[in-house]
């Protein structure tokens, strides 16, 4: 009997979950607060008071009438009435898929926060053509299965046609075939795997291909006089991609990779691998990391093991948390990074607002990229005026005028790849000189170009 009751209970719970899940499709009502100002001006008031003043002068009684005019001051009363009007304004609904858990959670969370910031700004400024923008956020956990589930939920339940995301190339590659088949635009600020370029017509990104970072890194290594390189790489598609492209370029220029080690994302102790690497006496060590934790920890442990040569890395290795973890060990590390331009007021503004809101910034370029995505989306929505029109949106992106955002001025090529961005060389400064404003590094200039 107890089991019977239990199964009924379970079925009820499930039904209610389903009801919540499948029934929650009501049109959102935008509640607008219209402030009506009522100005009541009370104009000059003349009060005429006649006073009889009896003046007794000896036997004569003279009645003098004195007129006293009391003028009251002008009183202006403004009455503000808040009238709440429930306006049914169909918002633009955009899906967001980022990895809020899993190995990409570091990026996913700041990406979502940046996007939410952008959306709030757009809505506060009156929305797009008067219509607000709504983000529907889903977690793709940085793996293909959850990415497909999140994608299906967004497209089938929420009926969105434009999805911003994902954070991980793996998740992107899982959902991209479906998006391509359904004609849904996927627009990522973070996926860097070169395979994403060929994923389809509807797939865009504002982050640079690994290949670009690789070429710049290889050039920089060679021009700094490095001939024997050791690499240590996190086993994720991004980090592996960066390592592969960099090493290829470096070897093509004539260098030699004398040692290479990899590590799993959950590892914390890299000393074993580093001891082996340092034993090969490389001219420099190249770190490719996906998580800032390992990026910072490796720098620290390299120095603890007595290695004094230069360290090269990409943006993650010189990220804010990585530098905090590495401390003084990171001083002098060279990062080949895509950097927010500190002379760009858009970028500076954005960072200030973000810092004011969340009290930190990290991986500023990725944040800026995620932030820009929303503004590009808004611009294109303004053009098409319909969030269901994925084809129009796609064409808008292909034909986009050079867009100037926080990360620079850029367009998209015919593969949906971003054009117009470039990497710079950054050198990490000593702990005492690091500030949130300079992200802890000096820009040495653009990446060298070698034949």
């Amino acid at each position: 009997m107890r089991k019977l009751l239990l199964s009924i209970l379970v079925s009820l719970v499930m039904m209610s979950i389903l009801a919540v899940g499948c029934g929650g499709d009501a049109t959102p009502v935008v509640r607008e607060v219209v402030v009506e100002k009522e100005v009541v001006v009370e104009v000059e008031k003349e009060v005429v008071v006649e006073k009889e003043v009896v003046v007794e002068v000896e036997k004569e009684v003279v009645v003098e009438t004195e007129v006293v005019v009391e003028v009251e001051k002008e009183v202006v009363v403004e009455v503000e009435k808040e009238v709440v009007v429930d306006k049914i304004l169909e918002p633009f609904r955009i899906g967001v898929m980022e990895s809020l858990t899993g190995p990409g959670e570091t990026y996913g969370q700041v990406a979502v926060q940046s996007k939410q910031l952008a959306v709030e700004e757009i809505n506060r400024a009156g929305g797009i053509n008067g219509r607000p923008l709504v983000l529907i956020i889903e977690d793709e956990k940085c793996n293909a299965r959850d990415s497909i589930t999140a994608y299906t939920k967004l497209t089938q339940v929420d009926k969105v046609k434009i999805i911003l995301g994902t954070s991980c190339s793996g998740a992107m590659l899982g959902a991209a075939p479906l998006a391509e088949a359904d004609g849904v635009v996927m627009f990522s600020g973070l996926a860097t795997n070169p395979a994403v370029a060929d994923a389809g017509d509807y797939i865009f990104r504002t982050s640079m291909n690994d290949a670009q970072v690789g070429i710049d890194t290889g050039n920089k290594l060679w021009s700094d006089g490095i001939r024997k390189l050791a690499t240590i790489t996190e086993a994720t598609d991004y980090a592996e991609g960066v390592r592969r492209e960099s090493a290829n370029r470096f070897v093509a220029l004539g260098g030699e990779v004398v040692a290479e080690e990899r590590y799993g994302s959950e590892e914390t102790d890299f000393r074993t691998a580093l001891t082996k690497i340092i034993g090969e006496n490389p001219d420099a060590i190249h770190i490719a990391a996906q998580a800032e934790f390992s990026g910072g920890t490796i720098q620290k442990q390299v120095r603890e093991l007595g290695y004094e040569g230069p360290i090269y890395g990409e943006i993650v290795v010189v990220g804010a948390t990585a530098l905090d973890i590495a401390g003084e060990s990171a001083t002098g590390t060279i990062g080949i990074v895509a950097e927010l331009d500190s002379t760009n007021p858009l970028a500076v503004n954005f960072l200030d607002r973000f810092r004011a809101r969340y009290a930190f910034t990290t991986l500023q370029w990725y944040m800026g990229s995620a932030y820009d995505d929303v503004y590009i989306t808004a611009a294109c929505l303004e053009q098409t005026g319909d969030d269901q029109d994925a084809d129009g949106f796609r064409d808008c992106l292909y034909n986009m005028e050079p867009f100037s955002g926080t990360i620079g001025t850029y367009t998209f090529d015919d593969k949906g790849e971003v054009v117009g961005l470039s990497n710079v060389i950054a050198e990490v400064v000593a702990v005492a000189d690091r500030t949130p404003e300079n992200s802890g590094w000096n820009i040495l200039g653009p990446a060298p170009v070698l034949p």
Partner: protein
């Protein structure tokens, strides 16, 4: 090995194992392999050894925490991983502002403070209830006793919450407690000394005249010293972190394991239950502190000492020292005190222990507190050495688990030995293969050991 042999409980290796031909083959193989490594590159060999000893010390610490619990209640408490993470994050909580330069600032969460305060209050209340209450019940009015107990518990909880709410002034807020503790301790010592040394009558007067003011002055001075010195904050935060982790472990035991143990058929129920704690506490830490990795302050700096071509950080020497200190402390506690006897009796047969009058709930609670404290300390040391992240507990836990199984389940000698063996094998093992297979090597070692020495290197009995 001298110390180990002095203990009668330490089991000698069974003759069948020593005489086993496989042992000599394996030992010979290991020696040849190590000699080969040494011949190839001596300073790298030394560096590997240092790496192995340092990480092995941390494994050993976690394994010792594991094993005192396992040897008493016979199940592996997976929530230890979460306790280790918790210890490390407490240190971050207290010292966050000191070390952050570019990244996220200090995180202070009111709800967390309140929650921990309530948790500590509960733990204190329970401890008072099972420990003090039965002793005083007959002498003092029950209502009074309960009221005073509740007041003490509440005060402790509120005090904890207060400390947590002002992490930057940890030393200031902790100083009265430390002063009080020092005063009480020195007072006790003086009192005992005076009584035993000079005889009761005059000794007491002497104590009252000289000892008491002295003790009070000492307490006050140490309290002032702590409050005035900023650099003590880091070490105080270790202390607080370990205590918080221990109290959480005790709360989990009392809140859940206590009931689970009453109805469980097999250790698997407990194992799965503690797995649930590991999952949820890790997730909560990630929610509160964000899933990113975080730095901890670097005690003694990062400048390594050079040692014949190899390098070691001063802090790493401290880690090794702490591992042996914990071992020594546990050795004394388990072998030289009546408490240790009680623990062993419970480990042998809880039913019988209860019948002969051992207060089993209290002893087990202390064991859980101790185990979780040690786990928290392990997490703190790992965090100080490397860095912290919410998921660090799982891997640390697995390694501690392996170390305790390899060393010998249920005793601290095995845990110490197993930790170092695991650390060394992990390091030497990947000399010729890519270092990414380190974890796989650890598990292969485990499977190998379990297949041929199913009870570990130093079995309990």
């Amino acid at each position: 090995m001298k110390i180990l042999n002095a203990d009668k409980r330490l089991p000698a290796l069974p003759r069948s194992i020593i005489g086993h031909p496989l042992v000599s083959i394996v030992v010979a193989g290991v020696i040849i392999y190590l000699a080969l490594l040494l011949g190839q590159s001596a300073d790298q060999f030394l560096q590997f050894s240092i790496n192995g000893i340092v990480i092995g010390a941390i494994y050993a610490i976690v394994a010792m925490g594991f094993n005192i619990v396992y040897g008493t209640v016979w199940f592996f408490d997976l929530s230890y991983g979460a306790m280790a993470t918790m210890g490390a994050y407490s240190v971050f909580y207290f010292t966050g502002r000191q070390i952050q330069t570019v990244g996220r600032g200090e995180i202070n969460n009111l709800y967390l403070d309140i929650f921990m305060g309530i948790l500590i209050a509960g733990v204190v209340a329970w401890v008072l209830y099972v420990w003090i209450y039965p002793e005083l019940r007959s002498r003092i009015n029950r209502i009074t006793l309960l009221a005073v107990g509740a007041l003490v518990a509440l005060a402790t909880g509120a005090y904890t919450g207060l400390i947590l709410a002002h992490p930057a002034d940890l030393n200031v807020f902790l100083s009265p407690t430390i002063g009080l503790l020092v005063a009480t301790a020195s007072g006790c010592v003086l009192y005992l000394g005076a009584l035993s040394g000079i005889g009761s009558g005059r000794g007491l007067i002497l104590f009252l005249v000289l000892g008491l003011p002295g003790a009070l002055a000492l307490g006050g001075y140490s309290g002032w010293l702590v409050a005035d010195t900023l650099s003590t904050r880091l070490y105080l935060s270790w202390f607080m972190g370990a205590i918080l982790a221990g109290a959480s472990g005790l709360a989990i035991y009392r809140g859940v394991y206590f009931y689970l143990r009453r109805q469980a058929r097999s250790p698997l129920v407990m194992l799965v239950g503690s797995l649930g704690f590991l999952l949820s506490i890790t997730a909560f830490i990630a929610i509160i502190f964000s899933p990113d990795g975080r730095p901890l302050a670097q005690p003694f700096g990062t400048v390594p000492w050079s040692l014949a071509g190899a390098f070691i950080k001063p802090f790493q020497v401290l880690i090794i020292g702490i591992a042996f200190a914990i071992f020594g402390g546990l050795y004394l506690l388990l072998n030289k005190t009546s408490f240790g006897t009680a623990v062993r009796a419970i480990g042998d047969d809880e039913e019988v222990a209860r019948i002969v009058g051992i207060n089993t709930p209290v002893v087990i609670a202390v064991i859980f507190f101790l185990g979780a404290t040690i786990a928290g300390l392990g997490g703190i040391l790992l965090g100080e050495d490397i860095g912290i992240r919410p998921q660090m507990g799982l891997l640390l836990l697995l390694k501690g688990w392996i170390a305790s199984v390899v060393g010998g389940i249920g005793n601290i000698y095995g845990a110490l030995l197993g930790g170092f063996v695991l650390g060394m094998v992990e390091n030497y093992g990947v000399w010729y293969i890519p270092a990414q297979w380190k974890d796989a090597v650890a598990f292969v070692l485990l499977i190998f050991f379990l297949s041929f020495w199913p009870r570990g290197l130093l079995p309990r009995r």
